[in-house]
Symmetry: C2
C-alpha cells in the first residue's frame, strides 16, 4: 500500500508546533510538558546524550526557561510534517534569541525533529531531537550558521 | 482511535537499521543511498544546518566514508522504533570509531533519529537527524560523552 498524507493529522501537528512556540514565548512549562507522550525520549542541544520521562522533561524545561533574563525569542521556519494515521514525524529550524541571566546573549539556529504518536486521539511528542552541528576542525559547536549557510 | 504498534513494520525498520550498520562497515554507499526516500532532508553531525536530495546524500556519504583510513567502527544501542502503518520514526545511539586520513582518531557517541515513510511497500528514510550535544560553558561539542554520562 502506498503511503498517503493525511491532511487533518498534518494540520493538527502543525497546530501543536505553533502552540509549542507560543508556550515558549510565554515560558508556560505546563503547556510544554502537556504536549508530550507518557515516556518521551529526548536528545537535547546540551548534554547528556539522552534523557527520558516527563519529570525530567519538566525539570529541564524549567531550567532552560529560567536561564533567560526576560523573553525568549523563538522563530521557526522550514517546517515539514509527515503524518500517518497513528505515527508521524516533523522537523523544522528555529532561531532562539535572548539574554541569559549571566549576561551573555544567545542568537543561534537549531535543528528540531519531533517523533509523534496519536494518544487517545491527540498527537503527542514521544521523541524530540534538537541540535546544532559542530566544526570538525575546531571541535566547536557551529553557533553562527544560518539556514542559508552553504556546505563548506 | 488509539495507536497500536505494528510488529511487522517495526521489524522491517529494525532490519533497515541493521542493514545500514552493515553498509557503513562495508563503506557501501549505494546501499546507504538506496535506503532513502526520493527527497530526504538531512540534519547532519557536521555543517550545514540542513541539506536535501539523494545526490547530496550520496556525495556526503562518499566524503564521510572516504575520510576514514581503513574501517569505520559503528556500534548501535538503545534502538527504539515507533511504526504506524505508513509513517514511522526510530532513534538510537551509535559509537563511531576509526582513524581519519589526516591521522586523528575518532571515538564518539552520536544520537540518530530517522523519520521513515512506506514507499511502494518498503520503508525508506525520509529524514535523518544526527548530532552530539555541546557544552554551553565552552562552546565545544561534547565528544567524550557516553550513554552513561549523567546530566551535569
Amino acid at each position: 500500500m502506498a503511503s498517503s498524507p493525511l491532511p487533518a493529522d498534518a494540520a493538527q501537528i502543525r497546530a501543536l508546533i505553533e502552540a509549542r512556540v507560543a508556550a515558549i514565548h510565554a515560558k508556560d512549562i505546563a503547556a510544554l510538558v502537556a504536549a508530550h507522550a507518557p515516556e518521551p525520549v529526548m536528545f537535547d542541544v546540551l548534554p547528556p546524550l539522552a534523557y527520558q520521562g516527563l519529570d525530567t522533561v519538566k525539570q529541564r524545561a524549567e531550567k532552560w526557561a529560567g536561564s533567560y533574563d526576560g523573553p525568549i525569542g523563538y522563530e521557526i521556519r522550514d517546517v515539514r510534517v509527515t503524518a500517518g494515521a497513528d505515527a508521524a514525524f516533523a522537523h523544522y529550524l528555529y532561531h532562539v534569541t535572548g539574554t541569559l541571566n549571566a549576561g551573555a546573549t544567545v542568537a543561534m539556529w537549531v535543528r528540531a525533529t519531533l517523533g509523534l504518536l496519536k494518544v487517545d486521539g491527540a498527537w503527542k511528542i514521544a521523541h524530540d531531537h534538537e541540535s546544532v552541528p559542530f566544526d570538525p576542525a575546531t571541535g566547536q559547536a557551529s553557533l553562527d550558521l544560518t539556514p542559508d549557510t552553504p556546505a563548506s
